[in-house]
Symmetry: D2
């Protein structure tokens, strides 16, 4: 059995069932390196402030550093209550009784918040990096296919022509917001809690500024009760991850649709697909389906922390222990998806011929006709009605608008000229859209250039 950090008043051993039930080491071991870094800073501060001797401080620091080097290599005592206890015990076995001084002016309440904040800041840096990689992969793919025009959909019904690259840039925008959101969350996480102790601060003359600077935090928490009770940063990171997961699920859905035999816009390389145990012809985009489903995982994790936080009285309650599995799981899930999605973009082939055929569908140009009529003086509603009727008639009769004679066109509106036929093709259609943010090739090119520059900065 592992020695506990408490017990003075206890004259009875903890029931083994309770020990197992309350143990967190199976997951909080992920905090090991942060716990050690935090303890080193704390030990240095204790020495500097003469709360322990310089020598004691040095012994603690050395002991912790040596444990730090082995983390990931040695097996942690799975019987320890938590990672903090496991490391405290390791330290004691290494440096002897002086290890007992490390917990001076510190409680697990502030220690665990420190560790999780360090984890969170680190996770955010990492996520931002991975999102940037995905953005780059998308931009690269968009750039390579910059002339491809696809039908865009609303309600999954063909709507208008857009550049494939314009469609993809929509995701780059979403991901950019995701990064900004992560940065804002990091900013609010970046407050150093150590020195709050159990909940009220301490009477020992500690130096919180020193610890803050040593650990690279920007600011100090300013209320010890808030410091030990606050899990906002976890909820906030999880809400960021929820939004990211939604973006990724939408991108996955688009690609799943595009990879169907029916849409057939893209081919995903065999190395990124899986097959069927029973149907030898199958080539399935499982990776994308698992990405889509991951919204469930991340959304569930957010709910989980939300529920456990509800109505908890101040200050610390043990409920907070269960904030960690959702945090770790969702962070890792999104991490993995970002990596696999980045690679996936290198394994997609555009079916140019198929797509070129699709954008011959003239209903894609109905808005162009409407705008043509408006420019000739129609009101929006007249133009909409005229075009609607024309679409209906041609569909009913199985004809194409471009095949109508000028005389036939004039029946719908005297405003039609021969020139209308020149707008009935995909390239003309996207080229018309010169409004800022629109799918016009020049604007899109500028956007690609802007992003390329920004992402490689």
């Amino acid at each position: 059995m592992a020695k506990k950090l408490w017990g003075g008043r206890f004259d009875k051993k903890t029931d083994p069932l309770v020990e197992e039930f309350t143990s967190s080491i199976s997951y909080d071991k992920k905090l090991a390196c942060f716990d050690i870094k935090g303890s080193i800073a704390h030990a240095k501060m204790l020495g500097k402030c003469k709360i322990i001797t310089k020598k004691e401080s040095a012994i603690l620091v050395k002991g912790l550093e040596s444990i730090g080097k082995k983390i990931g290599k040695v097996k942690l005592n799975s019987k320890a209550e938590d990672i903090h206890t496991a490391i405290a015990n390791l330290l004691r076995s290494k440096v002897g009784k002086v290890a007992d001084k490390l917990h001076t002016a510190r409680s697990r309440n502030d220690q665990v918040v420190l560790d999780v904040k360090m984890y969170t800041k680190d996770a955010i840096d990492n996520l931002i990096c991975l999102i940037t990689s995905l953005q780059k992969a998308i931009i690269k793919f968009a750039n390579k296919n910059s002339k491809i025009i696809i039908p865009a959909y609303t309600h999954l019904q063909v709507a208008q022509c857009v550049l494939l690259s314009h469609h993809l840039l929509a995701y780059v925008e979403m991901l950019a917001r995701d990064k900004e959101r992560l940065s804002d969350t990091k900013k609010r996480t970046d407050f150093m809690p150590l020195g709050s102790c159990a909940l009220s601060g301490t009477g020992l003359h500690i130096d919180r500024e020193y610890v803050k600077n040593n650990l690279g935090f920007s600011r100090l928490t300013e209320n010890s009760i808030d410091a030990v009770s606050d899990r906002d940063f976890i909820l906030e990171l999880l809400s960021n991850l929820v939004i990211i997961s939604i973006h990724l699920s939408r991108m996955a859905e688009d690609l799943i649709l595009w990879a169907t035999k029916e849409f057939n816009f893209i081919d995903i390389d065999f190395s990124f697909c899986t097959g069927s145990s029973i149907m030898p012809h199958k080539k399935n985009p499982d990776v994308l389906e698992l990405i889509r489903a991951s919204v469930g995982k991340v959304g569930g994790d957010f709910s989980s922390v939300l529920i456990l936080m509800k109505g908890l009285p101040l200050t610390y309650n043990r409920d907070l222990q269960l904030d960690k599995p959702p945090l770790f799981n969702s962070t890792e899930t999104i991490n993995n998806i970002l990596q696999v999605f980045t690679e996936l973009f290198k394994n997609i082939k555009i079916n140019k011929t198929v797509i070129a055929e699709k954008v011959r569908d003239e209903s894609l140009f109905s808005v162009d006709i409407v705008e043509y009529l408006i420019e000739k003086g129609s009101s929006y509603r007249q133009a909409h009605d005229i075009t609607g009727k024309m679409v209906k008639d041609t569909l009913d009769k199985g004809r194409k608008i471009s095949d109508l004679t000028l005389k036939e066109l004039k029946k719908y509106s005297g405003k039609f000229e021969k020139s209308v036929k020149s707008i009935l093709n995909a390239w003309a259609s996207v080229s018309r859209k010169t409004s800022s943010g629109g799918t016009g090739p020049r604007g899109v090119k500028r956007q690609i250039a802007k992003w390329s520059k920004r992402l490689n900065a």
Copy 2:
């Protein structure tokens, strides 16, 4: 690398990133024993139906049985795509090429549903057993303290006297509904899916009835597409677990409050408490807090499956793979809580003297006074108003109702007689409540007897 169950059309190796990302063996290994049982039944059926030879069938069965014996002991290939593949590969290495015949007239689509249904049925049996144990522990505790009267609360304000045992029986009722709900879920899970193959059934002359009987299912699924797409039983079990977790969280909350210094109704044994790393006087009910927080875990898991199921087209989609971690986690969480809660009841001591003092609070008898007046002919509202005024006056003047003279009482209502004083005590108060389902000692005794009999049946 582990051999896959598919690949015929594939001329390229799966990307290692994809293999890792899509692998499920780290969690679906929990299905190993069900997978083997299912395969044995399938192999026997194939032999019986002469789809494979009797001899081949016997070899497969023997091979699977021998693998079954070692499950839990040997390490599974963590590189295998999933548990089904891992076992198929083990079988091949054991019995050679005949192993390839096992997958005849079966797909992973129906195989995985079979396994998860078997897991679910087994989990439900186990949960019902554990709930019964907890009910028994509560009944035992209630019976031991059958004379204790506590103040009951509404809005966390003292309301009326009740027997502690009556309060506890409320939880026994909740848990009884939980078991009934689980049974109903099991009933709807108990449909054997094998033979649905990928989604459409098979042309081979299989015998589904045989497999059903062999595996102890009650009925066959009647639509192959539904059979491979349906995850209702998972959502249903998770919703059952959510409701159970709410019950457990409420019971935990009651005990957390009762264990505070302020309420002080109970003492939890040191062996079921934990201490503080910084405050040597602390004795904390961490177990109860973790139980309370587990609603988050289970609620998150339900959300997770709900989200991933939303809007999935028929038939099978890989998204469904992610139904398993929530199912397993929540099942195990509730399993553990039920066990620890059962033990906890053996470690609670009632602080009789403290409680006896609490129920001297005369505001607990206000409804008794109201009913006294009604019996004497007051309308409910008169009685309510009179008693309200009396409570107010005595509180304002720091007096007790039982100390009022008859004359003073008569000022509030001429209906008061000396007899009213005899109802102003806890035992009289609970004894009055003779309505069925009420807290009257005779009724409660009958309830305890009923439950004791039912739970030990």
Copy 3:
């Protein structure tokens, strides 16, 4: 201002902000008719038990009945705290002071549970009815198109041929489980709580059996604390509705896909579509999208009640007031969807020619070829590999399997005979699937017959 049901001890008026904040009449007015029915039964019982006089009882009953007739026609006092108070006040203005006797041996705690249980039972009956209508509409549609064969999908990739009717019957199965689940929930709701009063029962000699029978409940609640604290039936109904909403969202998704230009299996009538304010050619399946999105509404409502219940100490807490908006909203949402979906099926046209073309895709028959080879003696894996290779080669070379010569076929496997060509068509493919629950036309016909009979029983 409306008179309150309490106030005796209160010497100060409630703050108007508080009155507004705590008021529930804007939503619990939906309980009006149940509240009145419950009060009538209660008034009758009070008279029968001589707790009030027969005459008083008769006056109350008459007054309540007359209010009941006007419910829905007269405007309720929106200043009343809740529907119970509004009706109590109406009654007082109608029958005078005797109205004050109605609340004898009753609390709002048990009254509100009664009302919500009556609402729930009624809602369930209604839902079951509407689900049956939808099932009938599906069966009718399936029957009308019983010869249509469509490609079924796994991973949204074409998989195998199935009868359209078989595909639709999968939804009939889901909806049947939904009804069974609702019935089970009703069974657990069907416990009459009145007589539990605030939480402990009463000393007045009431007759709960009488009230139970009068109101058509099957059983009595057996623990007064549980009776006023229990909201399981709400959570259970909401979890049922979540599962139903998932089924409906999946059916909607299938139809959304089928209605795309790319799949083009169906045409939805203009009367069930909407257009675009800007794109005159659009015809959008908005109804289906709103159905799909409703999982969010219902899922959110379930979460909402789950969260508010978490960790509530016994007995009644005001938090429980907020259980009603989610219950009402989700019930009405699913009600509406069921009705609109039933009508929708009358407005779908199958594009037979398009579909007939789609099922010429020979990869749909790969499993048939595999089974052909197995019947000729191949092991499943050999058959899978051979067929995989054949599919790959023909795809690569742009050929069809049915165009291969026998000699070419033999290169893949000596087991191929000329007869293989006869299985390469959709009708042969579905006809082969004779296993029970499979897509074989005879089995499907039996299923349709079974359901027709059952639904019209």
Copy 4:
């Protein structure tokens, strides 16, 4: 029936069931004023850019302004499809056919995003204002009670003494983060989407900068597809509201506990409490319970939008319509709570005598004793063990530490001096905590001053 904004191609009337099912006017009428402002800016721009004539523009602007003045006063056509249609129809009836020109270069897709963004920005400004008011009320209350010392709790067990004001400042910190989070969300919402039209932009020569400036937006959306599909800002605001609701629920829980007879720290004024229909002595903190329960409402709303967004393909889908009820409901819920909570703080009385008695509990000083020993040279663990033993012994023997003789103290540790007794009181205990962010009176005073200044800036 209201005229629709579309219909050109439609030769059939929409089914009334569909009209009702798809209508959103019952809730999106809340967008009326924003819709009008947006339309005015759009009309001005169309005139300025000569897409319509100056005169037409002026007529539209005047018509819209006159409608704007009556919003909230006239009843909107409840048969209109949505608020945009209702206003368009009103405009047409007011200014005639020129109204048809307003929809030029605009789609409902970008119009609705504009409206909801304007609503969101406005809502955020309002929320920040209300949070500031609540913070001020807390600071005022804290300041008024700045000398009160309460026991702080961990695990709901008495832990250490803190200033009441320090405890309350924890909530001020949380609320400050809430405001910052809202500001960040506003920053990301502040992108003007108009000009994105249906999804691709327009060929008409519009001036988006003009509209942006006119409506007070900071920036333009830069991708038209993203602009019409993005609902991040709704999810982000809802996640902010979830976190706020958790803070409010925790504060409510603290006050609910403090208002129990058992804790008895505070009295809430009768005007902010409610009574019981059956128990005349009751005075219940219903307001706080409803606040606590509102996490459910807000959490459910977040889930709702999360679920509906999952896996939606680009670009616009009708599912997005259902983002509005959760947005509006949660915003209003939190709005109301903030107001009622601010008033509540004016209606709380501190029970000074009761609290003063509570903080005589010497176990509250155990950490002070530990630190005393550390300052005398003990290691943290020795000090913890010694104090633990002392607490245990005195509890067991029913003695107080302050009554121990020096000789008795010395038995625990030779380091004890007479001086230890001077630290065994609440004021000494909090005064010791001089570390930054701790509960020391000087630091807390500084914090109050800082907040007073900041909030009144």
